[in-house]
Symmetry: C2
Subunit: 447 residues, 2 copies
Amino acid sequence: MTQQIVNPDEIGALIDGGALTEAGDLLATLHHGEVAGILDRLPRKRRGVAFRLLPKPTAVEVFDDLTAVSQVDLIADLGTADVAEAFDHLDPDDRAELLDELPAAVAKALVQQLTPDEREMTGVVLGFARGSVGRRMSPEVVHAYVDDTAAAALERVKERGHEVETIYTVPVIGEGRVLRGVVSLRDLLLSDPDTPLSAMMHKPIAAYADDDAELTAQRCIDRAVLAMPVTDRERRLVGMLTIDDAAEVVEQARDTDEARAGASEPLREPYLLASVLSITRARIVWLFVLAVSAILTVNVLEIFEGTLEQKVALALFIPLLTGIGGNTGSQAATTVTRALATGEAAPRDVLRVAGKEVRVGLTLGTVLGIVGFAVAGLAYELEIGTVIGLTILSICTMAATVGGMMPLIAKSIRVDPAVFSTPFISTFCDATGLIIYFMIAKAVLGI
Amino acid sequence: MTQQIVNPDEIGALIDGGALTEAGDLLATLHHGEVAGILDRLPRKRRGVAFRLLPKPTAVEVFDDLTAVSQVDLIADLGTADVAEAFDHLDPDDRAELLDELPAAVAKALVQQLTPDEREMTGVVLGFARGSVGRRMSPEVVHAYVDDTAAAALERVKERGHEVETIYTVPVIGEGRVLRGVVSLRDLLLSDPDTPLSAMMHKPIAAYADDDAELTAQRCIDRAVLAMPVTDRERRLVGMLTIDDAAEVVEQARDTDEARAGASEPLREPYLLASVLSITRARIVWLFVLAVSAILTVNVLEIFEGTLEQKVALALFIPLLTGIGGNTGSQAATTVTRALATGEAAPRDVLRVAGKEVRVGLTLGTVLGIVGFAVAGLAYELEIGTVIGLTILSICTMAATVGGMMPLIAKSIRVDPAVFSTPFISTFCDATGLIIYFMIAKAVLGI
């Protein structure tokens, strides 16, 4: 316990060495969540072996905690019959997530083995669109009624507590299942048993089932609520989004955003396990798109080849200038993409953002432009200094404005803002920046 | 309720128009968490006005949910006496976080107004190093003993439930406060009251108080545990880390990582509220460092000015090549930085990572190099095509390897890996890439 986590390599080595009993004993000392963490990081073959070492009740708990990728591999390796019990034990939302990843035939075989009740619950979750709160909520909810007393509500919790994902936040409903409030189990337990719920319930932080899952999950975490009631548009209770599921939604969204801001797709496996081929695949498409669009810069420079021949020194500053443009643009894009993800900014704010970024860009450009003017003017000629200073000022202003607006435009045309941000912007700013550079150079140097 | 959140602009407009009663009524319809979310996004002056509109009990709850930045502003605007009650109501970990942000004199004044009990608890948290779990845990814990029955444990929870941050995970201790296991409140409530805890408790997922807060918080979320017991090195229970605090730790760390990967510092306020000056300040230092190091590329190109004069066409490909290098490097750096943050990779894996990235880089470089050879060979001359193809192959290999190793090296010399990643790498790869380019060009073209 306490942080002396067993290294996955250790388990892997025991399995490779045929010391299966030792490996099993070592895993038995750990919490099922830690075991799942280790299995997720084992190569696929060893993962199957390690899973078979677990006693049945532990195996069911561990399966629940695995990533969907590991679950899919295990089902393929062990067969649907062997995992039927573990599959039945999953919460409906986790089951829906896994079914999305499985081949249709395997998914069908597994669903047919479910109890009718569980099959129905899974159907409820799968009825909501991907990316909606409904797809990530738990449809099995223990609720209380607005005219219950604390004692009556506590009794309901005790009755149904075994079946549901959480009992710590109890939604309170009125006529027609309409959500009226929430009470915490803590309040139920610590209040006078005769208190009516209407006197002790709080206003809920709730969501509609068709709300965006990422924004809602972020709200759940920002507001630190353990579980959010989910309703339909008529405010009838349909499920609960728990904070651990919310944290998973936010993590997955940020993983994708971060990978795309770094011009690749997120890996589906732990980095050290991923093959060279799958890492290459996650990166090559983006790199190729960027390389092809960078051919634009070759074409731009071709137009100015005559100017370059007359003044080769102009070529020396190309990487410096494109670098400043790319960095300024990606600074703005990163900030605005994040503001979008947290709900701090929305596409309707595009003009406010543009106004802000023009001023930020001008300020950055003035400071850096003066430095550029002084350095280039002293090291080369005063005229070159003027060209560099003016170009930096213009590029910074352009890059900050475009970088700030691009994620908002992406969002309003329903493209992932992170996809549009850093990589796209650096290419765009490179080409536009070079045109600005040579136009200024031709004007100032008179060539 | 349900997602029809009031827009901060709406409240702001009411306050500006002097319609304070309407503003107060509107806020009164919301959960205190949503009110805090709105106040966080109001400009400072309006935030103070809005806070005064809240009835006292609500104000105390709202203050708890505000960001530390908003809390600091409010204390400065309202004075320490007015916020004394709200300050006393904070959990000790939140109080410690706020004290870190306050001027020493203000912090002292506030601490002196605390009850002796609360003052002691705050001291416990402040005794741990910044960035450790101890600094983010709640020291007020309700625990049970290993020879308690479920009924006895439930009784302890009811007795102390009002004072502690969470009652849903109950740590079970033995002699000398040593942590032995955990039971969930759900199990306590749903089991036979006479069950001894020793028969129903689980192995804990726990942490040492001096463990790294970010890695531990990530573990709490990955394993979806509502609260983790925190112990000293002798495994004596000292506190609990709750999942909502863990989510906050991870969010803050990722905000910083993302901002730095985009070459800026994270903003302390919501983006739309932040002034042009404070946004500029968050970006200028990084931009300046990058611009100064990019002067290196000017120097590199100067060395090859003679080569450029003989073959101006070589200049056309400079942005394309530096772009490919920068993107390949930042792809690798992003992936490895993320693997470090989740604990998937550690500095000791540096050779494994380098070996993997060399192969990924060679694969990427071969594919892109062949395309580059064909395109440049057809559009210009065969020899130029050869130069471009070979350069792309070399740059991809170099950039992926350096990009993958750099975060691990940063971590092992205790520098933030995100700081070292994208911006640093793109500058390094630009300069090195240009040297490779001109060396290959000189060799192939014989100039």
